[in-house]
Amino acid sequence: MRFLRCLLLVSFAGLAAAQSPQISGRVVDPSGAPVQGIVVAIGGSEVVTDATGEFRTLGLKTGNYVVKVGRAPFRPVSIPIGLTSAIRPLRIVLKLAEVRNEVNVTESAEAVSTAPADNLSAVTVSSEELRGLPILGTNYMSVLQEMVGGAGEDEDGVTVVVDGVEMDAKSVPIEAIQQVKINRDPYTAEFTRPGRGRIEITTRDASTAFHGAIRAGLRDSAVDARNAFANARPDENRQLFTGYLSGPLDRSGKTSFMVAAEQENENLQSVVYAQTPSGLLNQQIRTPQSATDLMVKIRRLVGERHVFTVRFDRERESAENQGTGGFRLPEAGFRERSNESEFRAQHSAFLSANLVSDLSFQWESSRRRSASVSQGRLISVADAFVGGGAQVDTRSDETELGLKYVLSWSKGKHLVRGGMDVPDWTRQTYEDFGNRQGTYQFASLDDFRAGRPFAFTQQVGDGRVSFRQRTVGLFIQDTINLRPGLTAGLGLRYDRQNFISDTNNLAPRLSLAWSPGQRQKTVIRGGSGIFYTRLNGGVIRDALLFGRGDFRRLIVSNPLWPDPSFEGGGAALPPALVRMADDLRSPYTIHYSLGVEHRLSARTTVSATWRGFRGVSAFRSRDVNAPWLADGQRPDPALGIVRQFESSGTVKSQSLELGVSGRLSRFFNGSIRYELGRVMSHADGRDALPPNSYNLESEWSRSNRDRRHRLRALGTVPVGKWFKAGFVFFAATGNPYSLITGQDNNQDGIASDRPAGVPRNSLQGPGVMRLDVRMAREFRIPALGGRGPTMEATVDAFNVLNGVNYAGYVGNLSSPFYGLPVSAQPARRLQFGLRLTF
């Protein structure tokens, strides 16, 4: 019923919609090949076309504009545009200078493009649209990741690509974003990850006229609803300040800059809901966080053929009382600090009309620290409570270099891009001071009351490790317009990484798009490709740290309580080891898809895509020194758990996605997608140890990411003359979870045993449904008149229907909370904002 109510609400929001003005399009050369890196001037601002020749303007107001495009060897062109509402994308065909100047400006034909980068299953969000969506603070990544996620997402997560270069999950300031693309050209060989594993962010370009914006946001729990597990409404508030300024640095306008910054302070609270020996503990605890991000970008045009860009980004974050909430008591929290700096230099050279060179170099440095808020042994009572000192004290320093060189060449029917990609050349130093005082583990509250722990673990020795991780890739991609309405993409990529001796990592990629008939309203699009997985730095760190002998994790089964009383500081106890298998190889995933895209009208498209992937040699762990009998006796009694990291797993996924986007009527502009999917796997993560390390095949079951149904919708729309509304709607069936006994039945030191005959992830978790809405009112500042600054007032409502979305159920049969939820996602929250644009 709730689901239907939401659907109706989404539809209603759509009925009251219309589109905000913007100018977008594509610039192509006489052969129809996209022209990358050409400057498109619109009014006082400038944008640069991306690799597909596309451009999109920033937030424009209605009025008359002149679109200017020009760079040798093309003749400059000027196109007057009367912008009264959203217009269709432009197609600008440039002619060479020596040929008679002829400009073709067409409102994008009603045909559907067969270019690989024009797949309709992709999601494109402009800065204007992003600004119109309800986003909690500056956390736009969570909204974007929800669009990426689904059965089509493999286990390697999402890579963020900023201005064409892959980087870690670090984000850029929200005001610095010009455009975001997701799932564009899924099978290009240019990137290590497939379309569903990439979020491509184009940062805002420096402009030749001064532009800027300042935004302030405020959230206070006085207007929020109460969390389902909290006794009272939490005392929370958030202050947010963001802004950007862009303009010329010299009179010629050839050097320009852009500065974006954001500062966010949050006073949040977590809800502890745990069963302790003295009864149910339901308490709220402050978890304040703050983040600062500054980004500076300078661009210089040298002559007509060279563009130099340098960018510097610095981010600082701090958070208190992390990890608390649910079963975890306030005393078991920890604080985190992180600093990240990034410098990037890019050079684009237009060597000739059909040859473009792009070189990018980046340097990143990051420091992370975490420290427990209290000292003492950690006491973990399975699915009842976790108390004592968190003991997560760690220090990590990382310096990363990156290099990417791409040469683009277009001739006739071919657009070829090839080059070298060094996404990761990293030096990491890690110091582990965690679990020095030890952790007692109890299978149940009754065992705790009886003083009967099933395990005691402790880390001793030198926890410092330093290593270099290197990944190098080469790629070539050819996009061939075989004939009108038929386009093929052929690519080949090779990746090599250290720590894995396997060098046979060739990854072919193929895509094909065919539009039958003259009108080309329908495109059948398919493709397949191999994508290799990079070894996680955490795995290398653990293998080096626990493999060398001077840093040990001691595990004692059925220890004494409350003092384990080791002799000689535990030197005689069998240590736990972590190691990589001898035959460890680079896992790879074969992705494939077949879809139909159809344009219903000039601005509305529907698509149906069947996609899947098969993960081969997927990473998983097992204990190669596990007891065979339930007597706790290990094959090598001198050692404890020997966690071997191996590439022997399989993951399979298939899904069907139905989507509609654009303007369904004159009232609706947005995107609605439904996905039916299935994911099966051998393990829930690389580090999870199976209950039976001698029979890994018995672990083949549903993945914990296996959500059958997902419905996503988003849009940014004006409501009547006065307000603009934006919404994000997400509904999905729950993630499955495992039924466990909560006991260490096989005495292997891990209490993750399942009852006989019960597969992994056999239980179904609770579904989620959320609707976030933004209402905005824009007005000019009357005193300044004309086309002066504008002010926008916004109200965001998150989980506006105030539905309870449980974070999960407890599957531990020994827990007093078995079958029950213990935490929920936040209830309805409101956020107010003001934005001044000039």
Partner: protein, 198 residues
């Protein structure tokens, strides 16, 4: 009513036949695997009378082949014994390769370092030998442990004089002998099942 009964009986018959077919399929697979193993063992050259270790491996190969032939009625046990036989044949291959020059043709980093790593793994595995020997209850299990240790000592000696390829292969042969014991242990001692959900 009669129609319904007929349908139910037909369904039960179908399930029974399908189940039987599945069992037969498993049985056929095991039989094919056994024949392949025997063929592989038959292709191996006979050891010289002086080579005690090779003689032991040849004798054990024959013994495990005989044992696997008698186990067609118990698929789990037969599967484990065939797995043990496979490991034994791998050990024989390693032993032969140890006496020959390196023909892998791969140059993967520092051979001394990779051999040391490989011997470390072999040591760990051979340390587990006694545990599985005890579990297996096999009369000859003790001989496996002794020979696995001897192979490791030979590997260490080869390593010390710079024979890295030989050291790797001898260490691997020793570890394979422990793999044989693990599979023999699994064949006779079932791992305890977790409790049944009530």
């Amino acid at each position: 009513m009669a129609g319904l009964t007929r349908r139910v009986v037909a369904l039960l018959l179908f399930v029974a036949v399908a189940g039987q077919a599945e069992d037969e399929k498993k049985g056929r697979k095991l039989e094919t695997r056994r024949l392949k193993m025997e063929a592989r063992a038959g292709m191996m050259s006979a050891p010289s009378a002086k080579d005690e270790l090779s003689n032991f491996l040849a004798r054990e190969t024959q013994r495990l082949i005989e044992r696997s032939r008698t186990l067609s009625g118990s698929p789990y046990e037969q599967d484990r014994v065939l797995e043990a036989l496979d490991d034994l044949l791998d050990a024989r291959d390693d032993l032969v390769a140890a006496g020959q020059p390196n023909r892998d043709g791969k140059k993967t980093g520092d051979p001394q370092r990779s051999t040391a790593k490989s011997l470390e793994r072999a040591y760990f595995r051979i340390q587990q030998g006694e545990y599985f020997a005890k579990l297996s209850g096999d009369a000859r299990a003790g001989e496996y442990v002794v020979r696995a240790r001897r192979l490791y000592q030979m590997a260490r000696a080869a390593y010390d004089v710079g024979g890295f390829h030989r050291a790797t292969k001898l260490g691997s042969a020793g570890a394979e002998l422990v793999n044989v014991l693990e599979n023999l242990a699994q064949a006779v001692v079932r791992r305890p099942e977790p409790p049944v959900l009530e």
